[in-house]
Structure formats: structure tokens, C-alpha cells
């Protein structure tokens, strides 16, 4: 009897431990949202939201190289609502599982919505405990986010990986785009002396073919996702785009440059010499001169020679000096034109205002209310120093021999 009561008591004590299972959700009951696309609503609602949900069976079998994997690795659902929660909850009418956001790694915002303002969608992404704030945000240029979300890709089974890896690759090799997370975005939006940028993506080709297996069963995909341009955000709205050299100039100035290529004409041949900067450091000091903010920008970079398509003596220190100066001049002109264009947008994406706040807090108190205009009219000075390092496996190019 006594032992019976003891065991009974023990069992009762164990019951509360089951509280730990309260939150249990079976894997088969979850829909893993890989990417989220947010567009301006076409109907009465404010937002059209698309959810790219992974189809586990198709991904797993194709990774093992098995014969399975019928059908695409993801499926896209669409829903609408006046805020994200509403849209997400309404989506469950169509999706036979509970939406699960812990693995969401990309949020695509349609350009229409970006022009109207993105502030309305950010809080949900920031607040939700499931959602990671390291999730990357991009803008679908001239497109609906839905189009980008729906495309299936080769090379990366999961289309959302395509965005992330493309961004990472181009950030490291070309330097016209940068990976911006929800955190970075919010930091830029809330800071009074800084505005954020977001990388843009376009889609080349047709949406319809991109969503069908055709797109991965061919060596020349009819639809292609491509990183393109840097969106300048001002007060939560898309103010304009920076493209090509302007985007690169902005990346230099934000000290995010990891690698790129700069080409020159030589001996009258267009882009005959190609250099690849691989190290770079940008220092900015903003002060007040003649009652106006003044930015002193110092950029230092080291570059390699990667291609010489003309008779260019790269073993001659004097020629190298000329080369170094031309690299510097090119960088300087790119940065300059980037600043000019951004000044037109009146959006301080470089954080000059924050720089003043940090180093001259008192002056900042006086000018911060009018910072957009102050930024648009501010002066700057750019000093670029570039250093030649090496030229790969060869010295002089074979072109030098051809001349003889």
C-alpha cells in the first residue's frame, strides 16, 4: 500500500514535466517558409504576400541523387491582407500546414510597394520570435516580388539559396550589391543620421516558363534571377536606384568593398588593362566647414593586374605609377558620381550624419532636424590611394613579344 502511494505520488510529480511538450509541433505539420514575397495589394487589401514553401520530399530525394523528386522543390502560395499577420493567417486556408518562419532566409519586396513605403511590413519581421532578423531583404526591380519568388532555379535546388548565394558571390567579386539584413535595414531606418540601401534583383525572361520544370530541365534556363542595382531608401520609401558604377561607388564609400574589377583603355584599345582591387578600407571624417558639413573621405585599396590585352610593360615602375593613379582616379570619379546621385535623393546612405553625431554630438543637435537638406548640399573631398601588388603567374604580357 505504502509503496503504491509512493509510486502514485511520483507519477503525479512527473505530470508537470509534460508541460515541456506543450509547444510540440510535428515536422509533418509544418510548412517551412523559405522565402517571403511582399507586394502592393492588387485588391482591397494593402499587401499581397507570397510564401515559398519547401516540399521536403522533392528536395531530399533529389539531393541523394535518387530517381524520386517528382515535381519542383518548392511550392508558392499567395494570400493578401492589410498586414503581414493577417495575410499569413489567411494563407492557412490554402496551405495544409502551419506556416513556420524559422528558416526563412529572404524577404523580397516588390518595387511598387517599395515606392509606397516599406515601413508597414518591418515590425512583423522584427518582432516575431520565429523570424530571424538576419534574414536578407531584397527588392524586386520593376517586378512583383511574386514573380521572383515563383521561379525555380538550377544549381541551387532551393530557389531562396539562389538569391543569397548570388548576392554573396557578386558582393565578393563585383561589389555592386551588398547583403542587407532586416537588422541593417531597421538600423538605417531608425537612425536619424543614416538611411539604408537594399540590393535589387531583376528577372530576365518569362515568368511562366520560370515556374515550370522547364526552367531546370535545360542548360539555358528561360528565366533567370539576376542581382541588379542598389535601392536607396529615404524615410522608408524607395527614393531611387544606383546602378553599375554608381552602385559600386556607394559600396566603396560604405566601406563594404570586398573585390571588383576596374578596366582602362590603353594604347587606344578599349578596356585593355583590367585590375582587380581585393583589399580596401574607407575612412570618413565629417566636420563642419564654413557652416556646412564637410566630409573628408580617404580610400585605400590594393589591386592586382588580372588581364593585359595590349603591350603594357607592367615591370616598369613608372608605368605602374601611372596605373595606380588611374585606378585611384577611376575610384574617385565613381565615388563622386555616387555621392552626387545620392545627394539628389537627399538620402544619407553613407551615414555622414551618424558620423557627425558620434564625433560632434553638440553640432549634431543643431542640424539633425534639417539633415536631408544639409546632406544634399554638403561638400566633400575624396582622396584615393591605390597600391599595385602583383600580376598573377606572368610578368610582361605576350603582346610585348608580338610587337617585335
Amino acid at each position: 500500500m505504502n509503496s503504491f502511494i509512493r509510486i502514485f505520488m511520483l507519477l503525479i510529480i512527473v505530470i508537470p514535466l509534460l508541460g515541456g511538450c506543450w509547444n510540440q509541433r510535428e515536422l509533418t505539420d509544418l510548412a517551412f517558409v523559405m522565402a517571403l514575397g511582399i507586394d502592393k495589394g492588387t485588391g482591397n487589401e494593402k499587401y499581397d504576400v507570397t510564401f515559398q514553401v519547401v516540399v521536403p520530399a522533392n528536395v531530399a530525394s533529389s539531393q541523394n541523387g535518387g530517381s524520386g523528386g517528382q515535381g519542383p522543390p518548392v511550392v508558392v502560395y499567395k494570400s493578401s491582407g492589410n498586414n503581414l499577420t493577417e495575410a499569413s493567417r489567411r494563407a492557412t486556408k490554402k496551405i495544409p500546414r502551419e506556416l513556420y518562419y524559422s528558416h526563412t532566409s529572404i524577404v523580397v519586396i516588390g518595387e511598387d510597394l517599395a515606392r509606397e513605403g516599406i515601413l508597414g511590413v518591418l515590425d512583423a519581421l522584427d518582432r516575431d520570435p520565429e523570424f530571424r532578423t538576419t534574414t536578407v531583404v531584397i527588392i524586386a526591380k520593376d517586378r512583383k516580388a511574386e514573380d521572383l519568388i515563383s521561379v525555380i532555379t538550377n544549381l541551387d535546388k532551393l530557389p531562396m539559396n539562389r538569391f543569397i548565394k548570388t548576392l554573396e558571390a557578386t558582393e565578393a567579386m563585383l561589389g555592386e550589391n551588398i547583403k542587407v539584413t532586416i537588422d541593417d535595414l531597421l538600423q538605417g531606418i531608425t537612425s536619424s543620421g543614416k538611411e539604408p540601401v537594399i540590393s535589387g534583383f531583376i528577372m530576365e525572361g518569362s515568368t511562366e516558363k520560370g515556374t515550370s520544370p522547364q526552367n531546370i530541365n535545360t542548360t539555358k534556363p528561360p528565366a533567370m534571377i539576376t542581382a541588379d542595382g542598389l535601392a536607396v531608401i529615404r524615410k522608408g520609401k524607395l527614393a531611387g536606384w544606383l546602378d553599375y558604377n554608381n552602385a559600386r561607388g556607394a559600396v566603396w564609400l560604405m566601406n563594404k568593398m570586398q573585390g571588383t574589377d576596374i578596366d582602362f583603355n590603353w594604347n587606344g584599345i578599349k578596356d585593355a588593362v583590367s585590375t582587380t582591387p581585393f583589399l580596401s578600407n574607407t575612412k570618413v571624417a565629417v566636420s563642419i566647414k564654413n557652416g556646412k558639413p564637410f566630409a573628408n573621405i580617404n580610400i585605400e585599396t590594393a589591386f592586382k593586374l588580372s588581364e593585359i590585352n595590349t603591350d603594357f610593360d607592367n615591370e616598369d615602375p613608372k608605368k605602374i605609377e601611372v596605373l595606380e593613379n588611374r585606378v585611384s582616379a577611376q575610384i574617385k570619379s565613381e565615388v563622386e558620381s555616387a555621392i552626387k546621385q545620392v545627394q539628389e535623393y537627399k538620402a544619407d546612405i553613407f551615414g555622414f550624419g551618424e558620423n557627425i553625431h558620434r564625433n560632434h554630438p553638440k553640432i549634431w543637435g543643431e542640424i539633425k532636424h534639417d539633415w536631408g537638406n544639409q546632406f544634399a548640399n554638403m561638400d566633400y573631398q575624396i582622396n584615393v590611394k591605390s597600391y599595385y601588388r602583383e600580376s598573377g603567374l606572368r610578368g610582361k604580357p605576350f603582346w610585348s613579344d608580338l610587337k617585335k
Binding site: 510529480i13 508537470p16 514535466l17 508541460g19 515541456g20 506543450w22 509547444n23 520570435p129 530571424r132 532578423t133 538576419t134 537588422d183 531597421l186 538600423q187 531608425t190 537612425s191 553625431h357 558620434r358 564625433n359 554630438p361
Partner: protein
């Protein structure tokens, strides 16, 4: 009083874990923005000063806990009433920490689990530890200390190697004026966590080498203060000021930022383990102080008979003190420091020390005269 003895090392470990405790989770002086760390350091310095008051009291009565020597200092009945208030205070603080712990879990990972279940699990574990006695809690503390430090050092290096630290976020230094900083220090960091050392007036008699009490407690406070400062600085430099101010649990946001080699990421679990350990130790110490105080005040032969009832009281209090998280935090920041912490951590101990000092002198002069 239980016949437990703990070593200086164990006391040190308990002080460090207790002081870092929930402060590192929810106790950042957010209103100071990038100057929060100044208030933490100031709070630590003042807390050490305050600890000397508790230590002098301990020296007058090295064998008695606070609830017992209150009677000796201010007389039988006033002392008992005061002791009763202290017991309520400790139980209330235990409930507050328990609630912090529960709220944190429900708003981060156990989003569908009722608060009551999470908290009752914690209080059952604590009740068990208290049944086993104070020595057990101290030994558990030793074990956990190693775990916490391994995690802290690991996390620290991971954050640095992830390149998350942006020291420029600390600038401009001292943008807030000193009056604001001092206000925050008195209301915030001095009372929580450093002033909470008042609970150790109940525990110091258990130390087997009374001489070491001062060194051990103060070095423990300084170590935890430095850790707290480092955590504050890491949070500010990683999150930036805006996010730091908007996060109820900045450390969680910081840790979830870690991303290394696309492989080491989503380390929130480190934070959760710390949360369990810190929650356990901190609740256990307040809970034990309340139980030991009750046992000595109402002269129970065995304190174990009342440990479970008080545990249930703490659990129910934790549920009742606030109807939602906002209320809980507002109470903790605005009301508790002024109406509970200041009187019971600062004013009463200081008064006690003054009275004890004069009584002792009179006694000594009497002895000298006779």
C-alpha cells in the same frame, strides 16, 4: 537555522551567478543608450559600498542571519515585524525572478505553453533543491559556474570572430548628462542587481571561514559587475543603440546574430541554457532566504516542513503580481526600486548599522567601566 557549511569558493560562485543572474537578461539600463555601461560600473561601485554596510552587520553577529539579529538590534517585537517584512521581500523577489524567467520563455520559444506550467516546473526543481539543503544549492552552483563560464567565453569569441562588434556604436561617449546617469544608477543598477546582495545577510553565517566573507563577496560582485559591463558593451556594439533600446532581451538578439562559416549559427540555445541556470540559482537563493527566515522567525524545528508551502506561495505570487509583461516590467523598473529596494536594501540596513554601532559602544563602555 540549518547546520550547513559552505566553503569560500562556493560562496564566491553563488555571488557571481546570483549577481549576473537575471540582470544580464533583463536588467540593462536602456534609457541611457550608449552610456548604459557607465551606469552599470557606477552601480557596481556603489553596490560594493553598500555591501560594506551588510558586512559590518555580519561582523556584529557572525552566527545569525538578518531575520534573527534584527530582534537583537531593534528589540523583540519591532525586530520580528521587520524580519517578517524581509521574508515577504525575499519571497516577492523570488516571485519576480520566476516571472522574468517564465515571461522570457513564453515570449521566445515556448510561445504556446502557459506561463503557469513553465514556472511550476522551475519551482518544483527549486523546492527539491531546498529540501536537500543549502549545501546542495552551493554545490550545484559550482557545477553551473563552469558551464556558464564556458558558454560565456565561447559566445564572446564567437561574437568577436563573427565581426559583429562595432565599437563606434559607443560614441558619442557620455552624451547623457551625469544627473540622468546617477538617477538611473540609483533607481536601476544599484538596486538591481547589486543591492540584492542584501539577501546574502541571510547566508553569510553558513560560510565556514567568516574571515573570508568580505574578500569573497566583494570579488564576486566585482567579477559579476565586470561581466555585466562587458555584456552591456557587447550588446550595444553589436545591436546598435536603436535595436538595443527596443529589445526586451538584448542578449538574446545579440546571440542570435552570431553567424560563422554558414555553419555556427542560431545559437539561441546557449542563451536558453544560461537562462535556466541563472533563473534556477537566483530563485533558489531568494526562496531559500525566505524559507530560512520563516523557519527562524516562527521557530520551526525543521525548515523543510515549510519549504513546499512557501514555494507554492511564490509560484502563485509570480502569477498574480502582474497581468502582463508590460505591467511586470514597469513595476520592476518604477515601483519596486523606490518602495521596496530603497527602504529594505539601503535605508533599513544603514539604520540598523547606526543603532548597532551605538549599542555596541555603550555595551563596550559599560564593560570598560565595570
Amino acid at each position: 537555522m540549518e547546520k550547513a557549511k559552505i566553503s569560500a569558493k562556493q560562496l564566491f560562485v553563488l555571488v557571481v551567478l546570483f549577481e549576473m543572474g537575471s540582470a544580464i537578461l533583463v536588467g540593462f539600463p536602456l534609457n541611457l543608450k550608449q552610456d548604459a555601461w557607465v551606469a552599470v560600473l557606477l552601480g557596481m561601485a556603489m553596490g560594493v559600498g553598500l555591501f560594506f554596510v551588510y558586512y559590518r552587520l555580519f561582523l556584529y553577529f557572525p552566527d545569525l542571519p538578518l531575520t534573527s539579529y534584527l530582534e537583537k538590534i531593534i528589540g523583540k517585537w519591532p525586530g520580528r515585524i521587520m524580519a517578517y517584512f524581509y521574508i515577504l521581500y525575499f519571497a516577492y523577489l523570488a516571485a519576480r525572478v520566476l516571472r522574468d524567467f517564465g515571461e522570457l520563455l513564453t515570449s521566445t520559444i515556448y510561445t504556446h505553453t502557459p506561463l503557469f506550467f513553465l514556472m511550476s516546473l522551475m519551482i518544483i526543481t527549486n523546492a527539491y533543491a531546498i529540501q536537500k539543503g543549502f549545501e546542495v544549492i552551493a554545490r550545484v552552483g559550482e557545477l553551473f559556474f563552469v558551464v556558464v563560464y564556458l558558454m560565456a567565453i565561447g559566445g564572446f569569441f564567437l561574437i568577436i570572430f563573427s565581426g559583429l562588434i562595432h565599437l563606434e556604436n559607443l560614441k558619442p561617449v557620455l552624451e547623457s548628462d551625469w544627473i540622468q546617469i546617477l538617477k538611473t544608477t540609483f533607481k536601476g543598477t544599484l538596486t538591481f542587481p547589486f543591492g540584492e546582495m542584501v539577501v546574502f545577510t541571510m547566508l553569510l553565517p553558513y560560510l565556514n571561514q567568516a574571515k573570508k566573507a568580505k574578500l569573497v563577496c566583494i570579488s564576486g560582485m566585482i567579477l559579476s559587475g565586470i561581466n555585466f559591463t562587458i555584456a552591456t558593451i557587447i550588446n550595444i556594439t553589436t545591436l546598435g543603440i536603436d535595436l538595443f533600446m527596443r529589445s526586451p532581451y538584448p542578449l538574446l538578439s545579440t546571440i542570435s546574430r552570431i553567424q560563422l562559416f554558414n555553419f555556427i549559427e542560431r545559437l539561441d540555445v546557449l542563451f536558453m541554457i544560461y537562462l535556466m541556470i541563472a533563473g534556477f540559482i537566483k530563485v533558489a537563493i531568494f526562496y531559500y532566504a525566505a524559507v530560512a527566515g520563516t523557519a527562524s522567525l516562527f521557530q520551526f524545528k525543521d525548515y523543510r516542513t515549510i519549504s513546499l508551502p512557501i514555494g507554492i506561495l511564490i509560484l502563485l505570487t509570480a502569477l498574480m503580481i502582474a497581468s502582463n509583461y508590460t505591467e511586470h516590467i514597469r513595476e520592476g523598473l518604477d515601483i519596486v526600486p523606490i518602495y521596496l529596494h530603497w527602504p529594505l536594501q539601503i535605508i533599513v540596513p544603514c539604520l540598523l548599522l547606526v543603532i548597532a554601532f551605538f549599542r555596541n559602544r555603550r555595551k563596550q563602555s559599560k564593560e570598560a567601566a565595570s
